[in-house]
Symmetry: C2
Subunit: 237 residues, 2 copies
């Protein structure tokens, strides 16, 4: 979708040359990422399956304002950078993550959301699977844990919007597969649905409804102290 604009006449050319881009009120634009990942937490009983948990990735602020508080990873949009560029750049710088699935969430523009100056933030949702949850400079938090914390700026509100969006989209898109590893069992997939939706689902109905979205890899899990499970992969995303 690159298109280079070409002035239609001399008059327009002149107009564009003389245009003063400093004439507008200084509003800074930033990008913040709600990085969500599903992780396994080991259980006491070796025969039981690991419970999966939904976590958010936060970074501790080193500077005022909200120094010492945790915040979403993000940063200012450079003059010649798309917001997606800013997202990749700041995610890599602050968390070490590269090439993560992301989509735009919402743009937050309350006038006093940042005490320094007027900053409008375009928030993104980024989704990870268990295999990519190794990070540097950032820390994973349980969602319940976050409820009790005070976060920087309006970042708690942004996280809540992200969860709402995820819940809304899980049933009519294939977004969930961005949180799954290459291969997974149906039970694991169901558990991720349950975590996101916040309710238990019935296995037979679940299997029926997702049957069209997954493919059997032919492989099986094993060595688990119980019946092995088929491994599936996502079908066309």
């Amino acid at each position: 979708m690159k298109k280079v604009y070409k002035a239609s006449c001399k008059e327009e050319e002149k107009f564009l040359e003389q245009y003063d881009s400093k004439a507008f009120d200084p509003i800074a634009l930033s990008v913040d990422a709600v990085v969500l990942g599903v992780m396994k937490s080991e259980t006491d009983n070796y025969r039981k399956l690991d419970k999966q948990i939904l976590r958010v990735l936060l970074v501790k602020r080193e500077e005022y304002p909200y120094k010492g508080f945790y915040s979403l990873p993000g940063g200012f949009v450079g003059k010649c950078e798309t917001m997606e560029d800013t997202l990749s750049r700041t995610l890599e710088a602050k968390t070490g993550l590269k090439k993560i699935y992301s989509e735009q969430l919402y743009t937050f523009g309350e006038v006093n959301r940042d005490p320094r100056m007027r900053i409008v933030s375009c928030a993104y949702i980024s989704l990870l699977d268990e295999g990519k949850t190794q990070v540097s400079g950032a820390k994973w938090f349980d969602l319940n844990e976050i409820e009790q914390m005070r976060l920087a700026f309006d970042h708690k509100e942004i996280i809540n919007e992200a969860l709402k969006r995820l819940r809304g989209k899980i049933n009519y898109t294939n977004i969930v597969f961005h949180m799954m590893p290459q291969q997974f069992t149906i039970s694991e997939l169901q558990e991720v649905y349950e975590i996101i939706l916040g309710e238990k689902l019935l296995a037979p109905a679940f299997r029926r409804t997702i049957a069209g979205k997954i493919v059997d890899t032919g492989k099986m899990t094993g060595n688990a102290g119980h019946r092995p499970s088929r491994l599936f992969k996502a079908l066309e995303m």
Copy 2:
């Protein structure tokens, strides 16, 4: 959600005082509105119902760039203005419309979308019913008509996103009632669904599915050369 930020200590207070808000690259933030309305176009036969049409409201640009082309109504976000404030202000200034239902659509940030300078635009969808389609300084366009036109900036792309969003939301929200007058017949409502979804629907199924979202007003249409129709209103939005 107003909250006034209070510096936690002298050190932070000093930091905030000395903060140079001009240090960042100048990126202008604008708001653009995709104003959609359903209008009736009179038919040849007096006994036939008026056909409804979905239209978009555009304004002709008076200045470069894209002078003379049609564009979405919008404008720059002022320093002490929320984006919703900007939306109301520019909508009223450029179209005369006040207090229109609007929701944020998407934020468009391609680097060269505006030849003047870097301008990021937060787009909104605004919906009108037939009763509010009187405008000044702006013009309504059929959607097919727009397909053939060249619009300013990336505004055609923005309109297409708006339609996609509308189509996506119509089936699991009550958004459609923002395009309906206070009272309407089920046939009118069905026609709006058909326009937005781009397909014919079967009347019995349609009636069943929307039955829970509307209330009978007890009133009827009349004098139409055919059987009168019940008038309904939207239930809780």
